[in-house]
């Protein structure tokens, strides 16, 4: 942590990272093309709850408190083809109808344990399109979660500038 602060200080002294030149602004989070979410409010809600069900809250922060639902939505909106996006939309609808069929209730109304059971039945099931949809959402959830500042710094040994490389140390 100290080293990171030191490097930041050197960098700021040497030129000031605080003021980005105009050309660079195209690549800052604030200036990237605005997320054009293609989800309806209901889809958005279902998607968010899938993400929460995959990694729920406990004494260890879950996906929701680490902002993962927004990340998943951003990724789906910006980084995937129309065909994949449509499969996601369709997947959300099929999930809802499965919830109705099985529990005669809307997915978002289900208790956590039933949401998870429904999602696990997709993971283990044989419907290829539905599995593709769920695997994508799940992988993005995992990516957003493990890429978060909290998980990176608390659990995954993240250091911006370790200052060394030891090639062979005991586990």
């Amino acid at each position: 942590m100290k080293r990171r602060q030191a490097i930041q200080r050197i960098a700021v002294m040497a030129g000031g990272l605080l003021a980005l030149p105009s050309w660079a602004k195209g690549w800052t989070p604030q200036n990237l093309p605005a997320v054009q979410t293609f989800f309806s409010p209901l889809d958005q809600q279902v998607l968010g709850q899938i993400v929460e069900a995959i990694l729920p809250e406990s004494d260890i922060p879950g996906a929701k408190s680490l902002g993962v639902p927004a990340f998943v939505e951003t990724m789906l909106a910006d980084c995937y083809t129309k065909a994949i996006q449509e499969n996601v939309e369709n997947g959300l609808r099929v999930l809802e109808s499965k919830a109705q069929e099985k529990y005669t209730n809307s997915f978002v109304q289900l208790p956590m344990i039933l949401k998870q059971a429904l999602l696990m039945s997709i993971e283990r099931g044989s419907d290829a399109d539905l599995k593709t949809f769920y695997d994508l959402v799940k992988n993005l959830t995992i990516q957003g979660y493990t890429n978060s500042e909290y998980v990176q710094t608390t659990y995954l040994e993240y250091e911006m500038a370790p200052g060394h490389y030891y090639g062979c140390v005991p586990v």
Binding site: C79, K138, H164
Partner: protein, 565 residues
């Protein structure tokens, strides 16, 4: 007349990348008033590295560039450099169009510093066996220089740039002026022992790379400090720990007070004066105003990156040179070469499971060329060097859901060691592999579009096959498991080592440049970037460009003093 005076310099350097930076440094240090032209924007060391201090979670798409931007740029969009952390260095296909007569992944750096900010920083010297190659094996033309001509200049640039490595004592990979090497890991060391045990003609060594591992006074004077193992090099290093024009040669040149750096200046052509029988300056298109401006100098260094240097020369036509400056032989733009990176062999290692690595390394291991080094042994010409990297990461189980999954993700177990290798093969120069100007189509700056027409040959195919067999065998003998050998069939250019087109040689009838990198037919124009390469060898080329440039620049200064230019 006033404009002429204002636009008059002793030297003009076209391009600010690895070789242009060196030309600027050497010429300015020798007192020449030097204009450095860069077609792209300025990039100030530190201040203009916008992503350098960003954490993984600071990128809105976890590093991935949105699809719409990738689709708009189908060539660069597929390249590994095109991430949220580094895409600001990318040259967008739609802004700077060229014509792929055959598929060519042209990775360019149009900004001050050029690709010296984007390079992989591997810096291996060429050996005598590389310079002798064409003459011994009967391809291209004989290099007009030998290792001995370049050796002192390798030392010169290595001391300043800062190169880490071990003195390995190998004739095919001469030792240099080294700072301490980075550590190899358990599996790389194991492979090193295994290779030594099973082969007499092969060695695995630590790669040599342009990182300051133990700053000497010359590096501290440049404001560059010890590498902190961030491994975020491609974003620009705020510590100046790896060599780039931005952190090293350009500020050094600027400090002399002799350098004028002009960004947003795309060179249209070199002006040739028929009466004087030499070049007198360059025509520049200001990329903001599209205005054409002329600058004048006694000596011109062409360092625009290999293919663009060809373009500028081809576009510099006059009564004396109707087919491009210095192109009496008609060979300008021909014999384009690159490096064959198609082969990959990956594996796992289930030994050393009680060991792991700690921290990060910006380097990897290296197997110098062992094929056909001292004599011809195979059914293909030349050979390949090999990059090798091993590592051990966390491998979380992604199955399941809820608290169990979460626990798997935050307490991931270490997986097996993974080992990767990639070939770096020498391509044989062939005349049909060429670049030329398009007859009618122009880019947005009014300059003819470059047509790139290069492709793989039989020698390259055979070499890939041999590489896949040999590395698989070496991995097998080391006890590695799950060995996977693949030919990516990647496009030429993906290696970012394109070279040639204005090759050096002894005979003006069969080459474009002489032994000092002067155009045979126009001695005050020097070409010292990748365009000058007669053959390609297997080593990463940048260090050789630096040495060739420093040598030529010092010769140019001497020739100016002797009033020969």
């Amino acid at each position: 007349m006033n404009i002429q005076k204002k636009n008059k310099f002793d030297a003009i350097v076209i391009g600010s990348g690895i070789s242009g930076g060196w030309a600027a440094k050497e010429l300015c240090e020798k007192g020449l008033k030097t204009l450095v032209l860069e077609r792209g924007r300025d990039v100030k060391h530190v201040a203009d590295y916008p992503t350098a201090m960003k954490n993984p979670w600071d990128f809105p798409h976890a590093g991935r560039v949105p699809l719409a931007i990738r689709e708009q740029n189908p060539i660069i969009g597929k390249h590994y450099l095109f991430t949220e952390a580094s895409a600001h260095w990318a040259v967008m296909d739609d802004v700077h169009p060229f014509i792929e007569e055959k598929p060519f992944t042209w990775i360019r750096g149009y900004h001050v510093g050029g690709r010296s900010l984007m390079w992989a920083r591997q810096t291996q010297r060429w050996s005598e066996y590389d310079f002798e190659g064409p003459a011994r094996d009967g391809f291209a033309v004989d290099w007009p220089i030998r290792y001995a001509d370049l050796a002192p200049w390798y030392s010169h640039v290595e001391k300043f740039a800062g190169i880490s490595g071990n003195r390995d004592g190998l004739p095919q990979l001469p030792d240099g002026e080294f700072l301490p090497a980075f550590e190899m890991n358990c599996v790389e060391q194991h492979l090193q022992r295994s290779v030594a045990e099973h082969y007499t003609d092969r060695q695995l060594i630590q790669g040599r790379c342009a990182h300051v591992t133990d700053p000497q006074p010359i590096h501290l004077q440049q404001g560059r400090v010890k590498c902190q193992h961030r491994n975020l090099c491609v974003r620009g290093c705020p510590l100046g720990s790896y060599f780039s024009s931005n952190s090293s040669t350009l500020p050094w040149a600027a400090k002399t007070g002799k350098m004028t750096l002009r960004p947003f200046s795309t060179v249209h052509s070199i002006i040739y004066d028929e009466k004087k029988g030499k070049a007198t300056g360059v025509r520049v298109v200001d990329t903001n105003t599209k205005e054409m401006i002329e600058y004048y100098a006694k000596v011109i260094f062409v360092n625009s990156s290999a293919l663009n240097s060809n373009l500028i020369l081809l576009n510099s036509t006059s009564g004396r040179f109707p087919n491009g400056l210095g192109n009496d032989s008609g060979l300008l733009g021909k014999y384009i070469i690159w490096h064959n990176y198609r082969g990959r062999v990956n594996a796992e290692c289930d030994q050393f499971l009680d060991k792991r690595t700690h921290g990060k390394t910006p380097n990897h291991s290296y197997i110098p060329r062992f094929r056909n080094v001292f004599k011809q042994e195979t059914d293909f010409l030349r050979g390949y060097a090999t990059g090798v990297g091993a590592g051990r990461g966390f491998e979380a189980d992604h199955s399941g859901i809820g608290e169990d999954l979460k626990n798997n993700l935050i307490h991931p177990p270490l997986g097996n060691w993974s080992v990767g290798s990639w070939m770096m093969g020498e391509c044989i120069p062939r005349k049909e592999n060429h670049v030329r100007l398009h007859e009618t189509e122009k880019d947005p700056f009014g300059i003819p579009k470059l047509v790139i027409s290069v492709g793989w040959g039989e020698n390259e195919d055979k070499m890939v096959k041999d590489y896949l067999e040999q590395l698989s065998e070496m991995f097998d003998r080391a006890g590695f498991k799950n060995i996977r050998a693949t030919d990516s069939h990647s496009n030429p250019g993906n290696d970012i080592h394109e070279m040639g087109g204005a090759r050096m040689g002894r005979d003006p009838k069969t080459s474009i440049l002489n032994e000092w990198n002067q155009l045979h037919a126009c001695k005050n124009v020097f070409v010292t970037d990748g365009a000058c390469m007669t053959s390609g060898s297997t080593q990463n080329p940048s260090l050789t460009y630096m040495a060739i440039t420093a040598r030529a620049a010092n010769y140019a200064v001497g020739e100016l003093k002797r009033r020969n230019l």
